[in-house]
Symmetry: C3
Subunit: 152 residues, 3 copies
Protein backbone atom coordinates (compact mmCIF):
# COMPACT_ATOMS: atom_id res chain seq x y z
CA UNK A 1 0.00 0.00 0.00
CA UNK A 2 2.95 2.35 0.41
CA UNK A 3 2.77 3.51 -3.21
CA UNK A 4 -0.85 4.44 -2.63
CA UNK A 5 0.07 6.44 0.47
CA UNK A 6 2.80 8.31 -1.35
CA UNK A 7 0.40 9.18 -4.13
CA UNK A 8 -2.18 10.44 -1.64
CA UNK A 9 0.44 12.57 0.11
CA UNK A 10 1.69 13.95 -3.21
CA UNK A 11 -1.76 14.72 -4.50
CA UNK A 12 -2.70 16.58 -1.33
CA UNK A 13 0.55 18.58 -1.47
CA UNK A 14 -0.11 19.45 -5.12
CA UNK A 15 -3.66 20.50 -4.36
CA UNK A 16 -2.35 22.71 -1.53
CA UNK A 17 0.01 24.28 -4.06
CA UNK A 18 -2.78 25.05 -6.49
CA UNK A 19 -4.87 26.49 -3.67
CA UNK A 20 -1.92 28.61 -2.46
CA UNK A 21 -1.89 30.35 -5.86
CA UNK A 22 -5.53 31.36 -5.36
CA UNK A 23 -4.99 32.36 -1.73
CA UNK A 24 -2.06 34.65 -2.55
CA UNK A 25 -3.91 36.14 -5.54
CA UNK A 26 -6.95 36.98 -3.44
CA UNK A 27 -4.86 38.30 -0.54
CA UNK A 28 -2.98 40.53 -3.03
CA UNK A 29 0.41 38.90 -2.41
CA UNK A 30 2.04 38.62 -5.86
CA UNK A 31 5.36 37.36 -4.45
CA UNK A 32 3.62 34.53 -2.62
CA UNK A 33 1.75 33.79 -5.84
CA UNK A 34 4.99 33.61 -7.85
CA UNK A 35 6.59 31.33 -5.24
CA UNK A 36 4.29 28.44 -6.12
CA UNK A 37 6.23 28.20 -9.40
CA UNK A 38 9.71 26.84 -10.07
CA UNK A 39 12.32 29.59 -10.54
CA UNK A 40 11.94 29.25 -14.31
CA UNK A 41 8.21 28.53 -14.26
CA UNK A 42 6.17 29.41 -17.34
CA UNK A 43 2.56 30.57 -17.60
CA UNK A 44 0.91 30.59 -21.01
CA UNK A 45 -2.52 32.17 -21.55
CA UNK A 46 -5.06 30.63 -23.92
CA UNK A 47 -8.40 32.03 -25.05
CA UNK A 48 -9.36 28.69 -26.57
CA UNK A 49 -8.44 25.06 -26.21
CA UNK A 50 -4.62 24.67 -26.10
CA UNK A 51 -4.80 21.71 -28.46
CA UNK A 52 -6.22 23.88 -31.24
CA UNK A 53 -5.08 27.43 -30.51
CA UNK A 54 -1.88 29.39 -29.88
CA UNK A 55 -1.17 31.12 -26.57
CA UNK A 56 -2.11 34.82 -26.48
CA UNK A 57 0.59 35.51 -23.90
CA UNK A 58 3.55 33.89 -22.14
CA UNK A 59 5.25 34.87 -18.88
CA UNK A 60 8.52 33.17 -17.84
CA UNK A 61 10.26 33.10 -14.46
CA UNK A 62 9.29 34.11 -10.94
CA UNK A 63 10.29 37.78 -11.25
CA UNK A 64 8.23 38.31 -14.40
CA UNK A 65 5.36 36.34 -12.89
CA UNK A 66 5.39 38.44 -9.70
CA UNK A 67 5.40 41.61 -11.76
CA UNK A 68 2.47 40.38 -13.88
CA UNK A 69 0.49 39.34 -10.81
CA UNK A 70 1.18 42.70 -9.13
CA UNK A 71 -0.23 44.50 -12.18
CA UNK A 72 -3.35 42.32 -12.14
CA UNK A 73 -3.90 42.76 -8.40
CA UNK A 74 -3.91 46.54 -8.79
CA UNK A 75 -6.90 46.45 -11.17
CA UNK A 76 -9.48 44.93 -8.82
CA UNK A 77 -11.20 45.88 -5.58
CA UNK A 78 -11.40 42.21 -4.64
CA UNK A 79 -11.01 38.81 -6.24
CA UNK A 80 -12.31 35.36 -5.33
CA UNK A 81 -10.60 32.50 -7.12
CA UNK A 82 -12.93 29.63 -6.29
CA UNK A 83 -11.21 26.35 -7.11
CA UNK A 84 -13.32 23.35 -8.01
CA UNK A 85 -12.00 19.95 -8.94
CA UNK A 86 -8.34 18.97 -9.50
CA UNK A 87 -7.51 15.85 -11.46
CA UNK A 88 -3.83 15.05 -11.00
CA UNK A 89 -1.59 12.21 -12.22
CA UNK A 90 1.70 11.73 -10.40
CA UNK A 91 4.64 10.04 -12.17
CA UNK A 92 7.63 9.91 -9.82
CA UNK A 93 8.93 13.46 -9.38
CA UNK A 94 6.65 15.07 -11.93
CA UNK A 95 2.90 15.37 -12.22
CA UNK A 96 0.25 16.82 -14.50
CA UNK A 97 -3.19 18.07 -13.66
CA UNK A 98 -6.33 19.94 -14.63
CA UNK A 99 -7.92 22.27 -12.10
CA UNK A 100 -11.17 24.20 -12.49
CA UNK A 101 -11.37 27.77 -11.21
CA UNK A 102 -14.27 30.20 -11.33
CA UNK A 103 -12.39 33.47 -10.94
CA UNK A 104 -14.48 36.44 -9.75
CA UNK A 105 -13.09 39.98 -10.07
CA UNK A 106 -14.86 42.93 -8.48
CA UNK A 107 -13.94 46.35 -9.88
CA UNK A 108 -15.24 49.85 -10.46
CA UNK A 109 -15.38 51.28 -13.97
CA UNK A 110 -16.37 54.97 -14.15
CA UNK A 111 -18.04 54.63 -10.76
CA UNK A 112 -20.04 51.59 -11.78
CA UNK A 113 -19.51 48.36 -9.82
CA UNK A 114 -18.71 45.52 -12.20
CA UNK A 115 -18.28 41.77 -11.63
CA UNK A 116 -15.94 40.11 -14.13
CA UNK A 117 -16.10 36.32 -14.06
CA UNK A 118 -13.63 34.04 -15.82
CA UNK A 119 -14.20 30.31 -16.28
CA UNK A 120 -10.64 29.04 -16.10
CA UNK A 121 -8.99 25.66 -16.45
CA UNK A 122 -5.39 25.35 -15.27
CA UNK A 123 -3.49 22.69 -17.18
CA UNK A 124 -0.41 22.27 -15.03
CA UNK A 125 2.92 20.50 -15.08
CA UNK A 126 4.37 20.04 -11.58
CA UNK A 127 7.89 19.21 -10.38
CA UNK A 128 9.09 17.89 -7.05
CA UNK A 129 11.89 20.21 -5.89
CA UNK A 130 14.01 20.35 -2.71
CA UNK A 131 11.46 22.94 -1.45
CA UNK A 132 8.50 20.71 -2.27
CA UNK A 133 6.16 20.53 -5.27
CA UNK A 134 6.14 23.53 -7.58
CA UNK A 135 4.34 24.46 -10.82
CA UNK A 136 6.80 24.32 -13.71
CA UNK A 137 4.33 24.98 -16.53
CA UNK A 138 0.79 26.38 -16.34
CA UNK A 139 -1.44 26.67 -19.37
CA UNK A 140 -4.20 28.99 -18.22
CA UNK A 141 -7.26 28.46 -20.40
CA UNK A 142 -10.11 30.99 -20.41
CA UNK A 143 -13.09 28.91 -21.56
CA UNK A 144 -15.37 31.94 -21.36
CA UNK A 145 -15.72 35.20 -19.50
CA UNK A 146 -18.64 37.34 -18.39
CA UNK A 147 -18.74 41.01 -17.43
CA UNK A 148 -21.82 42.50 -15.84
CA UNK A 149 -22.93 45.43 -13.70
CA UNK A 150 -23.26 44.27 -10.11
CA UNK A 151 -24.90 45.65 -6.99
CA UNK A 152 -24.46 44.56 -3.38
Amino acid sequence: MSADIEELVDRLAIRDLVDAYAHHADRKDPDGQADVFTADGVVRLFEGDPTTSEPVGTVTGRAALASTFADLVSRYDATTYLNGQSTVTVTGDTATGETYCMAHHLLHDNGERVLLTMAIRYLDGFERTPEGWRIARRDLVFDWTERRPSSA
Copy 2:
Protein backbone atom coordinates in the same frame (compact mmCIF):
# COMPACT_ATOMS: atom_id res chain seq x y z
CA MET B 1 -4.59 2.10 10.03
CA SER B 2 -4.91 -0.02 6.88
CA ALA B 3 -8.70 0.36 6.80
CA ASP B 4 -8.20 4.12 6.91
CA ILE B 5 -5.79 3.99 3.99
CA GLU B 6 -8.14 1.89 1.91
CA GLU B 7 -10.94 4.35 2.58
CA LEU B 8 -8.72 7.28 1.56
CA VAL B 9 -7.73 5.51 -1.65
CA ASP B 10 -11.34 4.63 -2.43
CA ARG B 11 -12.60 8.13 -1.74
CA LEU B 12 -9.98 9.69 -3.98
CA ALA B 13 -10.80 7.21 -6.78
CA ILE B 14 -14.51 7.98 -6.41
CA ARG B 15 -13.87 11.71 -6.49
CA ASP B 16 -11.77 11.25 -9.65
CA LEU B 17 -14.73 9.39 -11.16
CA VAL B 18 -17.15 12.20 -10.37
CA ASP B 19 -14.68 14.72 -11.78
CA ALA B 20 -14.22 12.62 -14.95
CA TYR B 21 -17.95 13.01 -15.66
CA ALA B 22 -17.54 16.80 -15.60
CA HIS B 23 -14.34 16.72 -17.63
CA HIS B 24 -15.85 14.60 -20.41
CA ALA B 25 -19.03 16.71 -20.43
CA ASP B 26 -17.08 19.95 -20.81
CA ARG B 27 -14.72 18.48 -23.42
CA LYS B 28 -17.78 17.27 -25.38
CA ASP B 29 -16.92 13.57 -25.09
CA PRO B 30 -20.27 11.82 -24.44
CA ASP B 31 -18.76 8.33 -24.67
CA GLY B 32 -16.17 9.17 -22.02
CA GLN B 33 -18.98 10.61 -19.92
CA ALA B 34 -21.05 7.40 -20.23
CA ASP B 35 -18.02 5.26 -19.32
CA VAL B 36 -18.01 6.53 -15.73
CA PHE B 37 -21.21 4.50 -15.24
CA THR B 38 -21.68 0.76 -14.90
CA ALA B 39 -22.97 -0.88 -18.10
CA ASP B 40 -26.50 -0.78 -16.68
CA GLY B 41 -26.08 2.55 -14.90
CA VAL B 42 -29.18 4.66 -14.28
CA VAL B 43 -29.54 8.44 -14.16
CA ARG B 44 -32.76 9.91 -12.79
CA LEU B 45 -33.52 13.64 -13.06
CA PHE B 46 -35.29 15.48 -10.24
CA GLU B 47 -36.57 19.06 -10.22
CA GLY B 48 -37.12 18.89 -6.47
CA ASP B 49 -35.92 16.89 -3.51
CA PRO B 50 -35.87 13.16 -4.37
CA THR B 51 -37.40 12.32 -0.99
CA THR B 52 -40.57 14.26 -1.80
CA SER B 53 -40.83 14.29 -5.60
CA GLU B 54 -40.88 11.88 -8.54
CA PRO B 55 -38.17 11.85 -11.21
CA VAL B 56 -38.97 13.89 -14.33
CA GLY B 57 -36.80 11.63 -16.46
CA THR B 58 -34.83 8.38 -16.33
CA VAL B 59 -32.02 7.16 -18.60
CA THR B 60 -30.74 3.58 -18.30
CA GLY B 61 -27.56 1.99 -19.65
CA ARG B 62 -24.36 3.35 -21.21
CA ALA B 63 -25.66 3.53 -24.79
CA ALA B 64 -28.73 5.54 -23.83
CA LEU B 65 -26.63 7.72 -21.53
CA ALA B 66 -24.08 8.45 -24.29
CA SER B 67 -26.91 9.36 -26.67
CA THR B 68 -28.48 11.68 -24.10
CA PHE B 69 -25.15 13.34 -23.34
CA ALA B 70 -24.44 13.79 -27.07
CA ASP B 71 -27.78 15.59 -27.47
CA LEU B 72 -27.03 17.87 -24.52
CA VAL B 73 -23.51 18.66 -25.74
CA SER B 74 -24.85 19.84 -29.10
CA ARG B 75 -26.97 22.56 -27.47
CA TYR B 76 -24.20 24.61 -25.92
CA ASP B 77 -21.23 26.67 -27.10
CA ALA B 78 -19.37 25.74 -23.93
CA THR B 79 -20.06 24.27 -20.52
CA THR B 80 -18.22 24.49 -17.19
CA TYR B 81 -19.28 21.92 -14.63
CA LEU B 82 -17.64 23.26 -11.50
CA ASN B 83 -17.66 20.59 -8.80
CA GLY B 84 -17.65 21.65 -5.18
CA GLN B 85 -17.74 19.30 -2.22
CA SER B 86 -18.22 15.51 -2.31
CA THR B 87 -19.35 13.68 0.80
CA VAL B 88 -18.88 9.95 0.29
CA THR B 89 -19.44 6.92 2.52
CA VAL B 90 -17.71 3.69 1.48
CA THR B 91 -19.11 0.32 2.59
CA GLY B 92 -16.98 -2.49 1.18
CA ASP B 93 -17.53 -2.60 -2.58
CA THR B 94 -20.28 -0.02 -2.70
CA ALA B 95 -20.46 3.62 -1.75
CA THR B 96 -22.91 6.49 -1.67
CA GLY B 97 -22.24 10.17 -1.99
CA GLU B 98 -23.50 13.72 -2.48
CA THR B 99 -21.58 16.04 -4.79
CA TYR B 100 -22.29 19.71 -5.45
CA CYS B 101 -21.97 21.04 -9.00
CA MET B 102 -22.57 24.55 -10.30
CA ALA B 103 -23.14 23.78 -13.98
CA HIS B 104 -22.66 26.72 -16.36
CA HIS B 105 -23.95 26.48 -19.95
CA LEU B 106 -23.09 29.14 -22.52
CA LEU B 107 -25.37 29.25 -25.57
CA HIS B 108 -26.77 31.56 -28.23
CA ASP B 109 -30.52 32.02 -28.60
CA ASN B 110 -31.59 34.08 -31.63
CA GLY B 111 -28.16 35.67 -31.67
CA GLU B 112 -28.25 36.59 -27.98
CA ARG B 113 -25.55 35.17 -25.72
CA VAL B 114 -27.15 33.46 -22.73
CA LEU B 115 -25.67 31.91 -19.59
CA LEU B 116 -27.76 29.10 -18.14
CA THR B 117 -26.70 28.08 -14.63
CA MET B 118 -27.94 24.97 -12.86
CA ALA B 119 -27.38 24.34 -9.14
CA ILE B 120 -27.06 20.57 -9.12
CA ARG B 121 -26.61 17.94 -6.45
CA TYR B 122 -25.57 14.48 -7.57
CA LEU B 123 -26.82 11.78 -5.20
CA ASP B 124 -24.79 8.80 -6.33
CA GLY B 125 -24.54 5.08 -5.71
CA PHE B 126 -21.12 3.68 -6.63
CA GLU B 127 -19.92 0.13 -7.26
CA ARG B 128 -16.42 -1.31 -7.28
CA THR B 129 -16.05 -3.21 -10.58
CA PRO B 130 -13.11 -5.08 -12.19
CA GLU B 131 -12.43 -1.80 -14.10
CA GLY B 132 -12.50 0.29 -10.93
CA TRP B 133 -15.24 2.34 -9.28
CA ARG B 134 -18.25 3.21 -11.43
CA ILE B 135 -21.51 5.10 -10.88
CA ALA B 136 -24.39 2.61 -10.75
CA ARG B 137 -27.16 5.08 -9.88
CA ARG B 138 -27.17 8.87 -10.12
CA ASP B 139 -30.06 10.99 -8.91
CA LEU B 140 -29.40 14.37 -10.51
CA VAL B 141 -31.21 17.04 -8.51
CA PHE B 142 -31.75 20.52 -9.94
CA ASP B 143 -32.17 22.66 -6.83
CA TRP B 144 -32.65 25.78 -8.96
CA THR B 145 -31.68 27.19 -12.32
CA GLU B 146 -31.02 30.67 -13.67
CA ARG B 147 -31.04 31.90 -17.25
CA ARG B 148 -29.74 35.35 -18.09
CA PRO B 149 -28.37 37.39 -21.00
CA SER B 150 -24.58 37.48 -20.75
CA SER B 151 -21.85 39.57 -22.33
CA ALA B 152 -18.11 38.94 -22.42
Copy 3:
Protein backbone atom coordinates in the same frame (compact mmCIF):
# COMPACT_ATOMS: atom_id res chain seq x y z
CA MET C 1 4.79 7.39 6.90
CA SER C 2 2.31 6.95 9.76
CA ALA C 3 2.33 10.67 10.59
CA ASP C 4 1.44 11.34 6.96
CA ILE C 5 -1.46 8.92 7.09
CA GLU C 6 -2.81 10.43 10.28
CA GLU C 7 -2.67 13.87 8.71
CA LEU C 8 -4.50 12.64 5.62
CA VAL C 9 -7.21 11.03 7.76
CA ASP C 10 -7.55 14.17 9.91
CA ARG C 11 -7.71 16.48 6.90
CA LEU C 12 -10.42 14.39 5.24
CA ALA C 13 -12.43 14.30 8.48
CA ILE C 14 -12.09 18.07 8.83
CA ARG C 15 -13.17 18.63 5.23
CA ASP C 16 -16.20 16.39 5.85
CA LEU C 17 -17.03 18.56 8.85
CA VAL C 18 -16.87 21.76 6.81
CA ASP C 19 -19.02 20.16 4.11
CA ALA C 20 -21.54 18.95 6.71
CA TYR C 21 -22.15 22.59 7.68
CA ALA C 22 -23.09 23.38 4.07
CA HIS C 23 -25.19 20.22 3.70
CA HIS C 24 -27.24 20.93 6.82
CA ALA C 25 -27.65 24.60 5.87
CA ASP C 26 -28.95 23.73 2.40
CA ARG C 27 -31.19 20.94 3.70
CA LYS C 28 -32.64 23.41 6.26
CA ASP C 29 -31.46 21.45 9.31
CA PRO C 30 -30.21 24.11 11.77
CA ASP C 31 -29.61 21.59 14.56
CA GLY C 32 -27.37 19.48 12.31
CA GLN C 33 -25.60 22.67 11.32
CA ALA C 34 -24.97 23.64 14.96
CA ASP C 35 -23.69 20.13 15.76
CA VAL C 36 -20.55 20.63 13.66
CA PHE C 37 -19.40 23.07 16.38
CA THR C 38 -18.08 22.37 19.85
CA ALA C 39 -20.68 22.96 22.58
CA ASP C 40 -19.18 26.40 23.21
CA GLY C 41 -18.34 27.09 19.55
CA VAL C 42 -18.13 30.72 18.44
CA VAL C 43 -18.98 32.25 15.04
CA ARG C 44 -17.88 35.80 14.34
CA LEU C 45 -19.06 37.66 11.23
CA PHE C 46 -16.75 40.02 9.34
CA GLU C 47 -17.59 42.34 6.45
CA GLY C 48 -13.89 42.95 5.79
CA ASP C 49 -10.58 41.29 6.49
CA PRO C 50 -10.45 40.07 10.12
CA THR C 51 -6.89 41.37 10.46
CA THR C 52 -8.04 44.95 9.88
CA SER C 53 -11.70 45.08 10.91
CA GLU C 54 -13.90 44.28 13.89
CA PRO C 55 -16.60 41.58 13.79
CA VAL C 56 -20.09 42.88 12.99
CA GLY C 57 -21.67 40.04 14.95
CA THR C 58 -20.79 37.17 17.29
CA VAL C 59 -22.81 34.05 18.14
CA THR C 60 -21.66 31.73 20.95
CA GLY C 61 -22.71 28.17 21.77
CA ARG C 62 -24.71 25.50 19.94
CA ALA C 63 -28.15 26.66 21.10
CA ALA C 64 -27.59 30.24 19.96
CA LEU C 65 -26.04 28.99 16.72
CA ALA C 66 -29.02 26.71 15.98
CA SER C 67 -31.41 29.58 16.65
CA THR C 68 -29.45 31.89 14.33
CA PHE C 69 -29.30 29.27 11.59
CA ALA C 70 -33.06 28.60 11.93
CA ASP C 71 -33.76 32.30 11.43
CA LEU C 72 -31.54 32.40 8.32
CA VAL C 73 -33.08 29.25 6.84
CA SER C 74 -36.56 30.78 7.06
CA ARG C 75 -35.59 33.69 4.80
CA TYR C 76 -34.74 31.74 1.65
CA ASP C 77 -36.57 29.52 -0.82
CA ALA C 78 -33.34 27.57 -1.38
CA THR C 79 -29.64 27.90 -0.71
CA THR C 80 -26.58 26.34 -2.33
CA TYR C 81 -23.39 26.64 -0.31
CA LEU C 82 -20.80 25.61 -2.87
CA ASN C 83 -17.52 24.89 -1.12
CA GLY C 84 -14.28 25.34 -3.04
CA GLN C 85 -10.83 24.81 -1.62
CA SER C 86 -9.91 24.08 2.02
CA THR C 87 -6.39 24.70 3.22
CA VAL C 88 -5.94 23.08 6.63
CA THR C 89 -2.98 22.75 8.99
CA VAL C 90 -3.22 20.07 11.69
CA THR C 91 -1.23 20.40 14.92
CA GLY C 92 -1.97 17.46 17.20
CA ASP C 93 -5.54 17.80 18.47
CA THR C 94 -6.18 21.22 16.98
CA ALA C 95 -6.19 22.55 13.45
CA THR C 96 -6.74 25.77 11.54
CA GLY C 97 -8.03 26.26 8.05
CA GLU C 98 -9.35 28.54 5.33
CA THR C 99 -12.28 27.36 3.20
CA TYR C 100 -13.82 29.15 0.23
CA CYS C 101 -17.59 29.13 -0.17
CA MET C 102 -19.73 30.74 -2.85
CA ALA C 103 -23.05 30.90 -1.03
CA HIS C 104 -26.14 31.29 -3.24
CA HIS C 105 -29.48 32.30 -1.70
CA LEU C 106 -32.69 32.22 -3.72
CA LEU C 107 -35.54 34.30 -2.34
CA HIS C 108 -38.65 36.25 -3.32
CA ASP C 109 -38.93 39.94 -2.49
CA ASN C 110 -42.34 41.50 -3.27
CA GLY C 111 -42.96 38.75 -5.78
CA GLU C 112 -39.64 39.25 -7.55
CA ARG C 113 -37.22 36.31 -7.66
CA VAL C 114 -33.82 37.40 -6.37
CA LEU C 115 -30.46 35.63 -6.23
CA LEU C 116 -28.23 36.79 -3.38
CA THR C 117 -24.62 35.60 -3.69
CA MET C 118 -22.04 35.86 -0.92
CA ALA C 119 -18.33 35.28 -1.49
CA ILE C 120 -17.35 33.81 1.87
CA ARG C 121 -14.11 32.66 3.44
CA TYR C 122 -14.36 30.56 6.58
CA LEU C 123 -11.32 31.00 8.83
CA ASP C 124 -11.74 28.11 11.22
CA GLY C 125 -10.19 26.74 14.39
CA PHE C 126 -10.90 23.03 14.87
CA GLU C 127 -10.64 20.76 17.92
CA ARG C 128 -10.46 17.00 18.17
CA THR C 129 -13.16 15.94 20.64
CA PRO C 130 -14.37 12.52 21.87
CA GLU C 131 -17.10 12.81 19.16
CA GLY C 132 -14.58 13.64 16.43
CA TRP C 133 -13.38 16.93 14.95
CA ARG C 134 -15.53 19.99 15.65
CA ILE C 135 -15.33 23.70 14.77
CA ALA C 136 -14.44 25.66 17.91
CA ARG C 137 -14.09 29.08 16.27
CA ARG C 138 -15.30 30.26 12.87
CA ASP C 139 -14.54 33.70 11.49
CA LEU C 140 -16.98 34.07 8.62
CA VAL C 141 -15.65 36.69 6.21
CA PHE C 142 -17.90 38.22 3.57
CA ASP C 143 -15.44 39.39 0.92
CA TRP C 144 -18.26 40.74 -1.24
CA THR C 145 -21.92 40.13 -1.95
CA GLU C 146 -24.15 40.54 -4.99
CA ARG C 147 -27.95 40.82 -5.18
CA ARG C 148 -29.69 40.60 -8.52
CA PRO C 149 -33.08 39.85 -10.07
CA SER C 150 -33.06 36.28 -11.36
CA SER C 151 -35.24 34.26 -13.71
CA ALA C 152 -35.35 30.51 -14.23
